[in-house]
Structure formats: C-alpha cells, structure tokens
C-alpha cells in the first residue's frame, strides 16, 4: 500500500457494519482488511474498530470501519457507531431468510436516523454456501450445514413479500434440483428488488472465498463524494446518492460482467 502518492490525500470514510448476529460481518471486514491488519482482532464488544485503505483511480479512500456487535441487545448502542457514518454495509445471510428482515429493519433505521447522505450497501453474505449461479466466480464449495431445510423453505416463502416473481431456475423454493442450492433462502432477485426499491448498493458476497468483497468496498468508495470536508447541501447529496445507488443496483443485477473500476481494487 503506497500512500505516498504525492499530494493525493486519503479521504477518510467512516463505515459501519450492521446486521443480525452471525451473518458474517466480522468475517467480511477481516477479508477486506486482513492484508494490513493483524489477524488477532478482538471480539466484538459494542463494536470493533479497523481501518483499511482503498485506492480508486483518482484518490485514496481510507475506511474507518466499525464492525458492530450483532446481538440484539447491543442494538441500542448502534446509533453511537452509525452517527456521522458516511457509509453503511448492512449484511444478511443468504441462507437465512430472517436475516434479510433484520437487514431491512436496519436500512429503515439508517434512513431515518443516520446521516442523510449515508451510502448504504446491502450485502448477502455466505455466497460460498450455495452453488454457483449468475456467473460469480465462486467455486461451488458447498458446505452442507443444513439443519432444517423443510422449515426454511417455508419461511422463505412467507418472507418473500416482493411480488417480483423470481425466474424459476435461480431461486430458492424448489429444493429438488440441486442439493446445495437448497441452502439458499433469499433469492438474489428478491434482495435486488428490495435494494433497488430502497436505493441501496447491492452485492452478494462471500467472506470465505473473498468473492465480491473488495468489489463491494470499491463500489462504496466510488459512491462517496470526493472531498471529505465539503458537506454538500442536502438536496445535492441526496441526488448524488440516488445516482450512485441506482448505478450500484444496476451493477448488482448484472454481476456477470465485472465492475469497471476493478483495477482500482483495494488491498
């Protein structure tokens, strides 16, 4: 990591990770930061604090990451961490339908309580647990940790509120065709639909394989307005964000063709 890139000063970005317990928030951060951070992170009490730089074409973004505790009772402490945050990563587990509900609640809360210009990314983690689809370069490393598949199928059905009927092959319900795929409880389409609606960046990622992790943070970095100190007028910022969000959402849809700014990749 060269940070002596002449006059280019790193933009500091406060980023907060939110999501239900055990969806893999800490693992995502570890994956993103592990290159220059010691492995031995402390367990999350309230929130763990880490930093990582991310290079774009024209600038460096320095993420100050607050990895919050997922346990429900720490919820009331979360405002302390998302206060003033420029970005938020809301994580759910694609093999657990209820975690998306929780993620939606977080998004709602952020949109109401946090900084109005906050860039929110919705991330479905544990992509490695479901078999490959949609061209993501994830090795089909299925770890069958299924516990109650029957129930889960049911749950996911009730939870799918969006009436965007997902195209049959890629989705969840049919537990028949592919054994590993049956672990998936949240279809990509469903989450994507929601992300578009709520104007969020959207990714499915795997902290385990690293798929989409750096892309995620790069995309967030791109969506952060350039100069740190400027606090643009709310309307302007709002618009900027919306654009960003739209773009992000689009990129989420056709994940197949990879991100443009990939060369700027972090780490």
């Amino acid at each position: 990591m060269s940070n002596e890139d002449g006059p280019v000063k790193a933009t500091q970005v406060k980023l907060v990770l939110l999501g239900e317990a055990a969806v893999g928030k800490s693992s995502l951060v570890m994956r993103f930061c592990s290159n220059d951070f010691n492995e031995n992170t402390s367990p999350t009490i309230g929130a763990a604090f880490l930093t990582q730089k991310c290079r774009l074409e024209n600038r460096i973004v320095k993420f100050e990451i607050w990895d919050t505790a997922g346990q429900e009772r720490f919820h009331s402490l979360a405002p302390m961490y998302y206060r003033n945050a420029a970005a938020a990563v809301v994580v759910y587990d694609i093999t657990k339908a209820s975690s998306l509900e929780k993620a939606k609640a977080w998004v709602k809360e952020l949109q109401r309580q946090a900084n109005p210009n906050i860039v929110i990314a919705l991330v479905g983690n544990k992509l490695d647990l479901v078999s490959d689809e949609s061209g993501a370069s994830v090795a089909p490393k299925s770890k069958p940790a299924a516990e109650e598949p029957a129930n889960e199928a049911e749950e996911s059905e009730t939870d799918a509120e969006d009436d965007a009927t997902p195209p049959p092959p890629a989705t969840t319900a049919a537990a028949g065709d592919d054994s590993s795929d049956s672990l998936r409880q949240v279809s990509k389409e469903e989450a994507d639909e929601y992300a578009k609606e709520a104007k969020l960046l959207f990714f499915e990622a795997s902290a385990k394989t690293g798929a989409n992790v750096s892309e995620l943070f790069t995309e967030i970095a791109k969506n952060i307005p350039d100069e740190t100190p400027t606090k643009p007028a709310a309307a302007q910022g709002q618009a900027g964000r919306r654009n960003g969000a739209r773009q992000g959402a689009d990129s989420g849809v056709d994940l197949g063709e990879r991100q443009q700014g990939k060369k700027g990749g972090c780490c």
Binding site: E20, E72, F74
Partner: protein, 1052 residues
C-alpha cells in the same frame, strides 16, 4: 424490542440493602436454609431487605481489635443476619464481613466497669475483641440479637468443614509446616530482596513452583485453568513467591477466606496484584460470591444436569462466541477450556433466563475461569451481574448505558478540557470506554494488568472502573486534545494500552524511576487523584441520570417496536405510539402481572412469569413482549370505555374517579379473536391489527366483526346460545348508559333475531310451527319459548345477513355499530388526562391535603373520610360513568328526554361532545344525580353558611390531624411501644454521640493515619485480650427473659 418495564419499575435501594451491598452480603433470599430444596432459577423480586428470615439486624458503635495485632479501630458494627460486619470510621482502614457460622464462640469479657466487650473466637482460631461503646442497655440488646442470630446458624456451621477444603488458602496453611517467619508485611513494596530471600526459604513449602503447571493432585482445592495451562505472565517477574508468602503471613494473623479481616496491609497486598494461585479464592471472598457458593452447593451442577441438551437462543449465541473469548490464552484453544467456558455461560443463562447471555460475558467469564473453578466463576458471575455491575448485561443494557453517561459526567467534572474538546470534534467517549466497562478492561489491555484491575474492582467496587477510566484519559490528556475523530481516539487508546507494561519514564536517569511502568502510574493516578470518586458519587450520578437513560431507552425501544411493526393499518405514527404506551403501561401495571393475582408489589409478580410465554423470541431473534389475557384486560380498560368501571364520586370536597377493570366474556372474546396464532398471548402487532380492524371499521365491518366475535365455530351462523351471548355482550357495553333505551333496543334485537332467525333458518326444525311471535313479548319470554319449541341451542341459527338486517332495523343499534362502537376505543390522551386529574391531583379544599398523602392506601382512607363528611353533609354522590358517554346530555334538563330515541346525538354533536371535557359533563350529571340523592336545595342562606363553617372546621381538623402524623398509615398497633423505645434510643444515642465525640477528638489529637486507636483506649483493648470471660449469669438478672446460666455467654 427491549423491556422497558424494568426501567419503569426501578426502585432505589433501601438503606439496609445498601449496607448489605457495601459488605458484599447477599440478600436473604439468596441464602436458602440448608433443608430447603435447591432452587436453580434465580429467585426474583427482591423481598424487603429487612426481612432477614425473621432475624433482626442492628448497628452499634464498636472498637475492634485482634489478638496478635497492634492496631485497634473504632467503627461501626452491623449485625446483618447471618453476618456480622465491621467498618472503621474512615471507611477504608479496617473492615470485615464475618458469616456467623464461622464464629465458634462468643463471650462477654470481664473487664472494667462500663466497658462492654465481646470476644469472638472464629473458626480459624482468631480472637476478635469487640468493645461495644454504646450505652449498656443498647450493647446488651445487641448481644441478645447476636446470640439469636448465632443460634440460627448452627446448621450452616456443620457444612463449613466439608466446604473449606475447596479453598486454596486452607491448603496453603495446612501444608506449610514451617512456622510463620514474622515478616512485617508493610515492607512489601520494597519486596525485591524479600522475594529473593523467601525464594530460597520456600523450597520446603510444597508448592515451590508457582510458575507453571503444578499442584495437580495436591490438595483438593478448586482451581482454575491456570493451574493446568499456566497463569498469564511471568511468575518470577510478578514476584509470585514473595507475594504468596506475604499473604500467608497475612492469613495467619487476620484470618482467611470466610474470616478474613481487611487491615491496611490488605489494601497494599491487593494493589500490587494478587498471586495467581490465590486470586480465584480472594476474588470470591472479596466480592462475597463465596457466601452464595457456600449456601447453594448444588445449584451449579443441578443447573447443568437439569438443562442438559436443551438449547435456547442464549446457548446458540454462546456457541458462536466461544472461539472468540480470549483465544490467545492456551486453554481456550483446547476443548477442555472451551467446555468449561460453555458450561458456566450456559448454566448462568438458565439460572437467569431473563438476562440469558450477553456478549462480553464470554470475555469476563473466560478471564475468571483462568483463576477459578466453574462453580466459583458461576457465583462470581452472579454477583457481578446482580450487584457489582447491575444492569450491564441485561437485555436493554440499561446499566451499561447509564454508567457510560455517568462516566461522561465525571469526565466533564474532572477533566473538562477533554470533554469540551471531544464535544467540539464530536467524538463520543463511549466508543472507547464501553468495552472497558463491559469487559472490566480484560479485553482492553494485556491480561496480567487487566486482572489487577479486576482485583481492585472486586475488592472496592465499581468505582474502580471509573477511577481507572478517568486516569487513562488524564494520563493521555495532551494527546487526546489532538484527537479529531473516533478513529484517532480508538487508535490512541489502543497504543496506550499496548504499551502499558513499558516504563513510564524510559529516559529517567534514576533506575528506580525508570522501573515504574505505565500501569503503576495508572494505578497511582487512579487511586490518588481520583479517590474523590466514591461510591456515593457514583450513586448520586446514577440517580441523577437514571431517569434520562430510562426515557431514552423507552423512546428507543418504542421507535424500534413501532418501526418493526409489519402492519400498522390506518393508524398514524402518533396513534401507534399511543397504543405502544398503553400496551406497556398495561405490562407494567400491578394488575398486569400474571395470574397469581395476589397482593404484593408488582415487580416480583411479573418476574415469576418471565420464562412463561410473556417473553418470546421472534423470528429475528428479538425478544418480544407479549401480554396474556389478564394484562390484556388492563390494556383494554385503558382504551375502551366500556372495558372499565368508572365510579365517579363527588362529595362536598372533591370529585374523583375510581377505575376498576370490567370483567366480561366479551373482553375474553376479543382477546382470543386477536390471538390469531392461538398462542394464548398477544404481541403488540396483534393488538395493532386487532384495534385497526375495530377502530377503523365502518358500519358493515363493525357488524361483521361483532358477529364473528360471537360465532365460535366460524361457520357463519350464530347458534341460539350465541345470539343470547351476543345480546349479553351488548348489554354489557350498554350497562352504564342512563335510561332504558338501550335495554329496550337489545330486547327488541333479541326478539327480531329470533323471529328472523327462525324464518331464515337453514334448519327448519328449529321452528316447527313457523308462527311469527308477537313483538310485545319480552326477551325472556322469547327465550323460554324458543327453549321449549326450537330444539337444541347449538344449531346454526342466525347468519350474518340476517344479523345485519336485524341490527339495521334498529336505529340505536345502527348508530352503535356505525360509530359508537369504534368511538368507544379511544387512543387520545385527553381521557387519560382527565383520569389523572381526577386521580392524582385532586383539587378543591381537600385536594392539596390529598397530595400530601401519597400512598394509595392512605388515599383510599382519606377518600373514605371525605365521603363520610360528604355523606354527613348530604353531598355525597356516586355514579358509574357511562361507557359510550353519548347520552350524556349537555345539560341535565335533557335527562327527561332520555326515554326517546331522539336523544341520539348527530355526528356533529358527537364531535362536540368529544371536545368537551368529560369531567365537565360528568359534573353536570353529578349535579343532577346528587339532587336525586336529596340535597335540600331549599335551605336558608344562614343554614348553608353555618354548614359551610362546620365543614371548614372539619377540614381544618382533618388537615391538622394529617399534618401532625405524617406516617398516616402506620396506626395504633405497637405505636406506643415504638415511641418508648425511641425515647430510650434517643437517650442512648445522646450518650453514644458523646462517646463518639470523645473517640473522634482522641483520634484527631493523635493524628492517626490508619484510623486506628492508640494510647489509653488501645491499652484498654489490649487488656481486654487478656481479660477472662465473665462467669455465667452475670447479666442474667438484667434480662429476665434470658435463661439464667447462659448470661452474656454465647457458647457454641
């Protein structure tokens, strides 16, 4: 959704509880008598601390000295059965908490006249002399209480012997054959050469190697993981050996474990860090958790065996965190270490299901288990969660939030520059300080130092956390003023803690100064500069800030709860907010408790039911509060006018409204119809959906849901019985409406229902003759008739369409279903305000007086009194507030029109009515009603005036009476005794004070550092050591009740 009811029901601790806390004495409930069945789930709802199993406690001034020790301390002796506690006047030099079951023998000493002295022989052979410096009768009273308390502990004493081998100190002292080389422990801080000396001497001690593994198989004491996997830190560097030696010496003179006295050297030994092997035991002794372990020998293993194989949300969460709990310590890389950690956390989550498991407990317990056995750690965990860090780990974490706020306030007070700077750059202290408090610094700094802080916290209480925190900030003050954001702050703190073992003055020429580490400096700053932070400071700040925190938590959980509702129907945000408020008010109300419905305060009641369905975990892992039928009644009574009985009483002085819950099947029906999942409880969401359906229903929907409410089998037909039930429901709603129009309407309804029901019946058998019945017949007649003619009553009979028709045929019922029913549910607070006004701040002549008398009991008494006056004056009136309030006329003159249907108000009038204060309306009708009770209106003026005077006199008398006796409720019984005693006590106290003054003057004159006594009094104490016990029966004649022969001697 968290649990705001804790916060609402919070009660400040009583003085007695505070004293118990100070001495680490458990509340009586936590100490079951040995024959009791062991209770594994935590007893909840602390009883009055004073009810110490029927044994009385008492405080007395005393002077304490110990055989073999020079110092003598004046202080306060407290008998808190089953403990005897002492604290020196300066509150730090000398202190002890002696369980009475460790006292073998108590004797009154034969000494100079006027000195009342007791000699206590403890289990460990220590002899403690206590001079009771109060007046003789007081001292004698104390010794009687002490004797009674001692007697009650005989059974516990038997368990002491088998318990003691679990303690390392016993092993340490029994194995050491070598006699104590009398080293003066005060030399401790210069201990380098001492360490070397004892290093050679300790060779024959049996536990020579204190560094690594060892000691297995030797002794049966309970041990932590450290005995197997090695304790953190370098034993040689930490001078374990010399510390151990000093402790051993300390134990010989000052007692050990249960009988440990804290003398000044204790504090010094503590602050240099406890030796690893002794640490676990001293932790439980200092925190008092040892008393719980002693009193509940089976609980831990029972908890594990009873809950074997069970899983819960807590156990899942524990599982996830096991591998992140001090992973750097070797034991937690092994299955054994993890298994211990798992067992303790799981056992506690079942012990205290309400708390369950909170992240950070894994760190704390992982720390404890290095030095303690599972059983020891388990009880210490209980003491931590209950007493030392109250509310830190609870589901709403209110204690944590509160103490963070307290910490900020203290920083503001002590280090205003830092606080101001942080405010200007918008950095919150809590981002760094939260984990300090939650994990007792175990997670923040290297373990060996963190545990030394834990030592101090367990010995001196939570204030240490604040003192250390402040010292950290102070030491880093300059750098902190450069901080511009959270990230810098965190990094700075992290850097500081990672170098805390380094020299604080690395470049100093003097090697001794260079040897001072950052950590030592931290302790010095914490305990020297911030010793102004006392327990009282923290209590006061907590008291000040608690309301704010509770309010914030409530708002937060309300916001979250409201946000998390999936459906809100047609309610707006404010209405949802009101529903939430009513919902939780009901949960918190004393009547809202679960079914045990007895007396007692509210808190223990709902505690009992915590593991019942009232709290559930929803799909997203949130703890959800649900209400049962009983609580629902309370809730509904707040919202629906007909679900409560309101009695409005006016007498000459005040008007008041009394509310009671109404009880009718209709309410139950509503409950079960809203309980769509048939869980037997309702969530906030259920209630919102239910209310939405009821309150936003139009005429047709109202008719429909009311129909469905009574259609039990949901077949679309009401049976005849159900028709009757439905009518009864209507009558219930109308029960307090004035006039008989409603009754008439309902009778008509029944008639029509039967008539049309028969006509449309799908089961023609029900009406064989098919003859329509006459209108004139009364409802009861119809019932009889149909009884005899229509066959079984449980056959489908009336369908919705017919029901609708019948309802619409009646103007009154149409109006009722059209809007009155929906309008009888009121979310607006105006009603509530009226209620409060009438209830809490009654005005009028007696109103002010009323406010003086706060308790409900007194209030009702006073109310009765006032009613009495009112009745005497002929001004007493009582009536039930109508539920629909619609027929309340704007003036009493309209009362006469009630007989006609025309009295129905138009919607516009309805609006008017709503706006009009309800109390005004009721007053109007009060006037009318009371006139019927018979106030003679035609009295002459003079008459009235005379009456008024009389009235005022009475009021004045009443007022005086109340003012004279503020403790209005405590009456007659035992009162006179009390007074006498008080007098006696006062005399005693006067004398005591004099004695104490003398002692204080003495102390001042001698400028004693440690608060010990010197000179004559000390000599006196020394004399006492040699004094012979008094012969039997010396004081027997004083107290006739006492069996002679025993005298002042309590011989166990």
């Amino acid at each position: 959704m968290s649990l705001p009811m804790h916060l609402r029901n919070y009660k400040e601790k009583s003085k007695d509880e505070q004293t118990r806390d100070f001495f680490n004495v458990p509340v009586w409930d936590a100490v079951p008598s040995p024959n009791e069945e062991p209770v594994t789930t935590k007893p909840r709802g602390v009883k009055d601390g004073s009810s110490s199993g029927g044994l009385q406690g008492m405080d007395i001034n005393a002077v304490l000295s110990v055989e073999g020790k020079e110092e003598v301390y004046a202080g306060r002796l407290s008998l808190l059965p089953p403990f005897l506690c002492f604290i020196s006047l300066d509150r730090r030099s000398c202190r002890c908490t002696l369980p009475l079951y460790t006292i073998r023998r108590v004797e009154r000493l034969n000494s100079r006249a006027g000195v009342f002295a007791l000699s206590l022989a403890t289990w460990h052979g220590m002899r403690i002399i206590l001079q009771l410096t109060s007046l003789l009768p007081t001292a004698e009273h104390f010794s009687i209480l002490l004797r009674d308390a001692l007697k009650s502990q005989l059974t516990s004493m038997k368990s002491l012997k088998p318990f003691l081998p679990s303690l390392y100190s016993e092993y340490l002292l029994t194995t050491s054959s070598s006699s104590a080389q009398q080293q003066n422990p005060d030399h401790l801080l210069l201990g380098t050469e001492l360490g070397e000396k004892s290093g050679t001497a300790a060779g024959n001690d049996g536990e020579g190697d204190l560094r690594g593994p060892g000691g297995d198989g030797k002794g049966s004491y309970q041990r932590g993981l450290g005995e197997t996997f090695g304790f953190p830190g370098d034993a040689r560097k930490m001078r374990e050996r010399s510390k151990m030696k000093l402790w051993k010496e300390y134990f010989m003179i000052h007692g050990r474990n249960f009988t440990l006295l804290r003398y000044p050297p204790f504090q010094r030994l503590l602050q240099v860090g406890l030796p690893s092997r002794l640490r676990g035991e001293l932790w439980e002794v200092m925190s008092g958790s040892i008393y719980l372990r002693f009193a509940n020998p089976q609980t831990y293993s029972l908890l594990l065996s009873n809950n074997k194989g069970k899983s819960s949300q807590s156990t899942d969460e524990i599982e996830k965190d096991l591998n992140r709990s001090l992973p750097e310590y070797k034991a937690y890389q092994t299955e054994e270490g993890l298994a211990r950690l798992r067992r303790v956390l799981v056992a506690y989550s079942f012990r205290n299901p309400e708390l369950g498991y909170c992240q950070a407990l894994n760190i704390v317990v992982a720390g404890l288990l290095i030095y303690m056995s599972e059983d020891q750690a388990f009880w210490l965990l209980e003491v931590l969660c209950d007493r030392i860090l109250p509310g830190y780990y609870s589901p709403s974490m209110e204690g944590t939030l509160l103490d963070q706020r307290v910490f900020e306030a203290l920083v503001q007070r002590c280090l205003p520059m830092i606080k101001d700077h942080f405010a200007s750059v918008d950095v919150q202290l809590s981002v760094a300080s939260l984990p300090w408090f939650l994990s007792l610094y175990i997670n923040s700094m290297p373990l060996i130092f963190a545990f030394r802080i834990v030592d101090c916290v367990l010995a001196m209480g939570v204030k240490v956390l604040f003192q250390i925190g402040l010292a950290v900030l102070k030491i880093n003050g300059e750098a902190l003023l450069e901080v511009t954001d959270d990230g810098m702050f965190i990094s700075l703190m992290r850097d500081y803690f990672s170098t805390i073992g380094d020299s604080a003055h690395p470049n100093h020429p003097d090697p001794r100064v260079r040897a001072i580490t950052n950590f030592q400096e931290l302790l010095v700053v914490a305990f020297r500069e911030f010793n102004i932070i006392t327990d009282d400071t923290i209590q006061a700040e907590r008291r000040r800030l608690r309301a704010i925190i509770s309010d914030e938590i409530e708002k937060f959980s309300k916001r979250a709860a409201v946000r998390n509702l999936k459906k809100v129907g047609s309610f707006d945000k404010d209405e949802i907010g009101s529903i939430y408020d009513y919902y939780f008010t009901a949960v918190c109300s004393p009547d809202g408790g679960p079914a045990n419905g007895g007396s007692g305060s509210s808190s223990p009641k709902f505690g009992d039911q915590f593991d019942q369905p009232r709290l559930q975990v929803d799909a997203q892992g949130r703890v959800e509060t649900r209400i049962d039928l009983k609580t629902f009644r309370v809730f509904l009574s707040e919202i629906a006018t007909w679900a409560r009985e309101e009695t409005v009483t006016t007498n000459a002085f005040i008007q008041r409204t009394e509310r009671r819950l109404a009880d009718h099947e209709l309410i139950d029906r509503l409950f079960y119809s809203w309980d769509t999942q048939a869980q037997g409880t309702l969530s906030l969401q259920d209630v919102v959906i239910g209310l939405d359906r009821v309150m936003h229903a139009g005429l047709m929907e109202s008719i429909e849901w009311f129909f469905n409410l009574h259609d039990k089998d949901k077949d679309g037909f009401l049976t005849k019985d159900e028709v009757i039930q439905l009518s009864e429901s209507l009558l219930f709603v109308f029960r307090n409406e004035p006039g008989d129009i409603y009754l008439a309407a309902v009778s008509k309804f029944i008639l029509n229902a039967y008539e049309f029901g028969d006509a449309n019946s799908p089961h023609p058998i029900s009406s064989p003759d098919g003859v329509p019945r006459g209108d004139q017949e009364s409802a009861s007649h119809v019932r009889e008739r149909s009884d005899s003619t229509s066959g079984p009553h449980n056959l489908p009979y009336l369908n919705l369409a017919t029901f609708r028709m019948v309802v619409l045929a009646d103007e009154l019922l149409e109006g009722f279903f059209g809007h009155d029913l929906a309008a009888s549910f009121q979310l607006d607070k105006t009603v509530d305000e009226d209620y409060h006004q009438a209830h809490q701040k009654p005005e009028g002549i007696l109103g002010g007086l009323m406010n003086l008398v706060v308790t409900n009991e007194n209030k009702s008494r006073l109310n009765r009194l006032a009613d009495g006056f009112g009745a005497a004056l002929g001004k007493h009136a009582e009536w039930r507030k109508p539920s629909l309030a619609k027929t309340l006329p704007s003036s009493s003159s309209q009362l006469s029109e009630l007989g006609t249907r025309e009295s129905l108000l138009t919607p516009a009038q309805q609006e008017q009515r709503r706006n009009r204060s309800v109390s005004a309306a009721s007053q109007a009708s009060a006037r009318s009603t009371s006139s019927s009770v018979g106030t003679p209106e035609s009295r002459s003026l003079a008459d009235v005036e005379a009456k008024y005077r009389e009235e005022q006199d009475l009021v004045r008398q009443a007022q005086e009476a109340v003012m004279h006796r503020p403790n209005f409720a405590i009456d007659a019984i035992g009162d006179s005794d009390g007074e006498e005693e008080e007098e006696e006590g006062e005399g005693g106290r006067g004398a005591d004070d004099a004695v104490m003054d003398e002692v204080e003057a003495f102390l001042k004159a001698h400028g004693d550092d440690d608060g010990g006594l010197k000179g004559e009094q000390k000599k006196q104490a020394e004399d006492l050591l040699k004094a012979e016990p008094m012969g039997g029966g010396v004081s027997a004649n004083n107290k006739p009740g006492r069996p002679s022969g025993e005298g002042g001697l309590i011989d166990l």
